[in-house]
């Protein structure tokens, strides 16, 4: 009998070890994917990052050289405008949900934000095309910014909401007890407490919007020249990556990798800078 028991225990232990092995395998696989992708992007893209890449406009088909400067510029401009539109709306919505939270209106707004966050980005592109491109401006950087803003608003709203909820009610009540009107409590007491967190949310939304391609395909179209005019089509980095990658030209492929590396670097820097400044802020004000 004892042998049977021992045998059973052994087989159970073997099972446990086997599945542990599988779990380790799954984890290792999951971790390596990231490294593999980053490795390829770095190795294939770093060679493209020369001075011309950052400063020149694209050359005609088939000619080597030139750069993707219009695309870098276009991305920055459209992100900036999108942020200017999305930040006030997103933050205001989050404030509303948190500070006026128990009203029916607030629950509907919360629900609307959730749904907006889940919109496939290509569908956002269709919407902005139908609303703005078709009737107002034709293909334009402005339409592109609007599409990016629609994508950023729910991201900002959701994360700022989480952050505002972390502010203890005692803080608000203390301020109110001293006679501060509600709006001052929100603007001058609650918000300054969470400013670094808000900053993080905004940067994350910007980082996400920086990589969006599908909506821009239908709204800002792309531009081979430097363009500051938002009423005309504008180039953008993800758009450039897409059209260069599916083309047959080796030079363009290299530039596409380079642009991908640059994009990832920008996203990385944004997220990293946020963490750094947040830590500094926290250290300074405590």
């Amino acid at each position: 009998m004892r042998d049977l028991e021992l045998a059973r225990i052994r087989s159970r232990k073997i099972s446990a070890a086997f599945f542990y092995g599988l779990i380790i395998l799954a984890t290792v696989l999951s971790i390596s994917i990231l490294f593999i992708i980053i490795y390829h992007i770095f190795v294939s893209g770093v060679g493209a990052l020369d001075f011309d890449f950052f400063t020149k406009i694209p050359k005609p088909y088939g000619e080597a050289g030139g750069g993707i400067a219009p695309a870098i510029l276009g991305t920055l401009i459209m992100l900036l405008l999108a942020a200017l539109i999305a930040i006030p709306i997103g933050v205001a919505t989050a404030i509303f949900i948190v500070e006026y939270g128990e009203t029916k209106l607030a629950t509907s707004v919360r629900f609307a934000v959730e749904l907006l966050a889940e919109l496939p980005s290509i569908v956002v592109g269709i919407f902005i095309w139908a609303l703005v491109v078709r009737n107002l401006t034709g293909y334009s950087g402005f339409a592109g910014s609007l599409a990016l803003a629609v994508i950023m608003i729910p991201i900002i709203a959701r994360s700022v909401e989480e952050i505002l909820k972390l502010v203890p009610d005692t803080l608000r009540e203390a301020a109110l007890a001293l006679g501060t009107p509600r709006w001052k409590v929100v603007l001058f007491i609650v918000i300054p407490t969470v400013l670094p967190g808000m900053f993080t949310s905004i940067m994350l939304a910007v980082a996400r919007a920086a990589g969006e391609t599908a909506p821009l395909l239908l709204t800002s179209l792309g531009n081979a020249f430097f363009n500051f005019n938002l009423r005309r089509p504008m180039a953008a980095m993800p758009l450039q990556i897409y059209s260069y990658a599916i083309s047959p030209y080796d030079d363009w492929h290299k530039k596409a990798w380079g642009a991908t590396l640059l994009l990832i670097a920008i996203i990385g820097i944004l997220s990293g800078a946020v963490k750094y400044f947040t830590r500094r802020w926290n250290h300074e004000s405590r």
Binding site: K59, P60, Y61, G62, I77, L80, L81, A83, L84, V133, R134, G138, Y139, F142, P192, L195, F199, L221, G222, N223, A224, F225, N227, F228, N229, L230, R231, R232, P233, S243, I246, S247, P248, Y249
Partner: protein, 366 residues
């Protein structure tokens, strides 16, 4: 906190500045008029995109005018000009009546700009260093794209190409995934030479391909062929040349195997009666030395222009394209417009009006 405020104010100011950019900005032009638009947007065919990108780069150096051309396919060009989301469209497929009826701004003219050849291009590793290009006949091309001929060493192919005898791999077909004038030219040719194709598939900007992978634009198809071993696709000649992809010879109506180049493409237009509206296909030419899969490509413009600054800029650009632009065709293996085509094109450009008056700037319409 203060740093943040400064950054935000700066951003707001920058945003305001950027958005305040009105219609034109001041790049002084050498040859364009003071009240003409300095920026134009066009979209459409990928077929001539190689040429157009060269053209508009040179035009910009010459006049300072930025003509932003985005190659999204002829289907895209037609839709964009119909919806008036661009200043001009481009297509190598003639607009159907239904498409013309959908044009928001009224009548559209087809201004021919150049002639190009659609070639079968392929990627067979064994033949990578071969000097000879494969020979295709109407039967083999239609067979391949119908999915009837499945392997490279099919007897029908080997009959004309002994070098394929030992290539037993399956053929991977590549076609256009978007609405394409190149497809239009290619399928019109197939429809003309293959009863079976006309029955099963037909011709147009978009068709139901029996087999194959889709690529977006001529660029996409060339990309697929370049990266997929044992594949075959159809692209405008310039794409094959620029990417060192082989361009197959095709047997023309007279029974001769012709290589596509500037000369054999130009010959396809010879002897063809050109209608005034220039809407004519050039496939399956009777000329004994002509390449059989050839076509015009057009720029699509409204006759009744609505923007007083853009109308002269567009017509000036069109005028330049059909005259000075033709010098760039040869190096890229596009065929320049024959003289009679240029005359018809001039007449069409002169039809373009703004506020009832001819849009072509006075210094050009002598």
């Amino acid at each position: 906190m203060k740093k943040l405020a400064i950054i935000m104010v700066g951003a707001l100011m920058f945003g305001g500045f950027v958005f305040a950019q009105g219609g034109n900005d001041g790049v002084s032009a050498k040859t364009s008029g003071p009240s003409e638009a300095k920026e134009l947007t066009g979209a459409g065919a990928t077929f001539p995109a190689v040429l157009y990108s060269k053209w508009f780069s040179e035009y910009n150096k010459l006049t300072g005018v930025q003509v932003n051309y985005q190659s999204i396919g002829s289907g895209g060009g037609i839709k964009s000009i119909n919806d008036m989301t661009v200043d001009f469209g481009a297509s190598d497929g003639i607009m159907t009546d239904e498409q013309l009826a959908a044009a928001k701004g009224g009548e559209i003219v087809h201004i021919p700009t150049t002639i190009g050849a659609v070639v079968p291009t392929y990627n067979i590793p064994e033949l990578a260093n071969s000097q000879e290009t494969l020979k295709f006949t109407p039967e083999t091309i239609s067979g391949i794209f119908l999915g009837d001929i499945k392997t490279w060493n099919d007897p029908k192919l080997v009959a004309d190409n002994p070098s394929l005898k030992n290539v037993s791999k399956d053929i991977v077909v590549a076609h256009r995934s978007d609405g394409s004038g190149t497809t239009n030219i290619f399928t019109s040719y197939l429809k003309a030479v293959s009863e079976s194709w006309a029955q099963k598939v037909g011709a147009g900007n978009s068709v139901q391909w029996p087999v194959g992978l889709g690529g977006k634009g001529n660029e996409g198809v060339a990309g697929v062929v370049k990266q997929t071993p044992y594949s075959i696709g159809y692209v405008e000649l310039a794409y094959a040349n620029q990417n060192k992809l082989p361009a197959g010879q095709v047997k023309n109506k007279s029974g001769k195997f012709v290589t596509a180049n500037l000369k054999s493409a130009s010959l396809a237009a010879q002897g063809v009666a050109l209608p005034d509206d220039m809407k004519v296909m050039l496939v399956n030419s009777g000329n004994p030395d002509a390449f059989p899969i050839v076509g015009f490509t057009w720029l699509l413009v409204y006759t009744k222009q609505t923007d007083a600054a853009k109308a002269p800029a567009v017509t000036r650009m069109l005028w330049w394209a059909i005259h000075d632009g033709e010098q760039y065709c040869e190096a890229l293996d596009y065929a320049p417009l024959p003289a009679d085509a240029v005359k018809k094109a001039e007449a069409l450009i002169k039809k373009i009006t703004i506020n009832g008056k001819q849009a072509l700037p006075a210094d050009l319409s002598k």
